[in-house]
Amino acid sequence: MKPFRIILGLFCLLVAIWLVLPTLVIIPMSFNEKKSLAFPPSGFTWHWYENFFTNPDWSSSFFNSLRVAAIVAVTATIVGTLAALGLSRMKHAGAGILRAILITPMVVPGVVLAIGIYAVYLNYQLVGTTLGFVIAHTMLAVPFVLIAVSASLEVFDVRLETAAASLGANRLTTFRTITLPLILPGILSGLLFAFVTSFDEIIVALFITSPYLKTLPVQIYTSITRDADPTVTAVGTIIFLATSLIITGGLIIGSQRRR
């Protein structure tokens, strides 16, 4: 029994290292003095961080991504939440089919979607526009919101709405005071997923980008294919720390809400 547990523990550690190491490697590399992506790094410098904040190529693409992701988080959360609510109340067999259709953007290969979107956008002059990015990314993010909110609704006791009605609450008040607070964890995690989906989306972005509107992943990709600029490791580190903070914060808030 005991040696088996030790072996199991070691194996788990190995898997954990294997999953996390590629991400952690970029942190020491972002302080590399040499202008190369060589590993292991040598020396120490803040230069690449400085470059990220001062070079307009980097900062503008960063703010583009932030803007698009923020809008997408809101739109996808609204659309996905409404869809989840509607589907949860549909007793019809069609609910399953509708749900499957809404999930497709998650399943269909990104390249296929990207080609389709590109073709349509060329026609309607949406290439390289914020609106174009928001529409495409919302479509990609809705399934994540739908799944997260549906999971919340699964454990939500619909009979509470009946109780609220008996106490004098109309539909809208019931939703605002009972349903919404109780499915909020699902909505918030959907919002987070939607934001991240848009923020690190690269495939569709590569197709519909233009020199005037580049998102951060596109900038990283072009930079690394053109001149192996170590700034990408600084960007990677910043994004890694930021997302870790957001997720940790989300977990803490989530655990405090549960009573």
């Binding site: 009979r159 009946t162 109780a163 609220a164 009605a165 008996s166 106490l167 004098g168």
Partner: protein, 372 residues
């Protein structure tokens, strides 16, 4: 608020020819029921008998296919649930898990725009009434089932509804707690003077609580009356069997004059009345009306007698309960006081009762099918 003033708060309910169909299934079949202001009315019946459907119709959760429904003299058909101002207590408590006990109880008052000071006063009064005032800051998940249901009751009465509906509120609780809460509910009913409509499948609970009981079976009301009326004078075999314990006897029937005689397992027994419409009669006997005597002793003329053997003898503390298997295989239930002669399993006995204690009813197959 004085007692006499709250007395007037109870609303009358009038249900007329209510029918509810789900496709080909008829949940309510031409049900009419009048409930007096301030009355404690229990809707009693097995599951699927239409009692909960009736409650849901009054609460506004279900629409009628046809029929009329009024509360306090005004028709409320088509009025949505949230505008009916009727308190409802559910079997599953339905407390809002994200609100404290105090917030839960304040919820209907907040919706009605009652200002904070008055709101707090009324929440405290309602919680006092169900003896939960010390728990105002707890969350529902921190309470036991019985405590949650008391909070749910406080929430349903805090806005002074003229009518309170309860759907098997004690169904999920254990026996001791249930009996205690029954008395609490009775007390609260007395103090409030509100009309209570209570749904249960437990006939003992119905007897403990109610002013009157409406017995439901297969979407219809079989009989409405006080517990005593239902027990002593059941209108149908179903009611007779559903309320309390009973023995039923069947046999070849003959009527002569005002009497009916039945031949049960070769022995003739007499009832002092007859059925009006010539239906097949069944005799219903209550266990405390029956007595036992050692086999083949002579009996009085005013008594019926059937021979059988004791097949089960149970000591109950306050007396004994016997099962007597008769010659035709049917089983009679007898309750004997402690001072009566005691018997053991296998003893041959005469089962005796006064002729006037025979309750003659029309036979009805549905009465057997729906019993659990």
């Amino acid at each position: 608020m004085t007692t006499s003033k709250t007395r007037e708060r109870g609303a009358a309910i009038d249900i007329r020819n209510a029918t509810k169909r789900y496709g080909s299934f008829t949940a309510l079949d031409d049900v009419s029921l009048h409930i007096k202001p301030g009355e404690f009315m229990t809707l009693l019946g097995p599951s699927g008998s239409g009692k909960t459907t009736t409650l849901n119709v009054v609460a506004g959760f279900t629409d009628l296919t046809s029929g009329e429904l009024s509360v306090g003299g005004e028709s409320i058909l088509g009025v949505p649930a949230h505008k009916r101002n009727i308190g409802v207590v559910f079997q599953h408590y339905a407390l809002f898990p994200h609100m404290t006990v105090g917030k839960n109880v304040a919820y209907p008052l907040t919706l009605r725009g009652i200002e904070k000071g008055e709101r707090e006063k009324r929440v405290r009064r309602a919680l006092d009434m169900v003896k939960m005032a010390d728990f105002a800051h707890r969350y529902p998940s921190e309470l036991s089932g019985g405590q949650q249901q008391r909070v749910a009751l406080a929430r349903a009465i805090v806005f002074d509804p003229p009518l309170l509906l309860m759907d098997e509120p004690l169904g999920a609780l254990d026996k001791k707690l249930r009996e205690w809460l029954q008395l609490e509910i009775k007390r609260i009913h007395r103090e409030l003077g509100t009309t209570f409509v209570y749904v249960t499948h437990d006939q003992e609970e119905a007897l403990v609580l109610s002013d009157r009981i409406a017995v439901f079976n297969q979407g219809r009301i079989e009989q409405v009356g006080t517990g005593r009326e239902l027990y002593d004078e059941p209108a149908t075999l179903f009611v007779g069997k559903f309320i309390g314990e009973s023995t039923t006897l069947r046999g070849n029937a003959e009527t002569s004059g005002g009497e009916t005689s039945l031949t049960v397992a070769g022995q003739r027994i007499v009832a002092s009345n007859k059925l009006a419409n010539g239906a097949k009669p069944v005799i219903l006997l209550r266990p405390e009306k029956l007595s036992l005597a050692p086999g083949n002793k002579p009996q009085a003329d005013s008594q019926n007698s059937l021979t059988g053997n004791i097949s089960e003898a149970i000591y109950l503390g306050s007396g004994s309960k016997y099962q007597v298997t008769l010659r035709d295989g049917s089983v009679a239930i007898v309750r004997a006081p402690l001072e009566a002669q005691q018997f053991a399993i296998g003893d041959e006995v005469d089962l005796r009762w006064h002729i006037s204690d025979c309750k003659l009813l029309a036979d009805d197959e549905r009465a057997d099918l729906t019993l659990t």
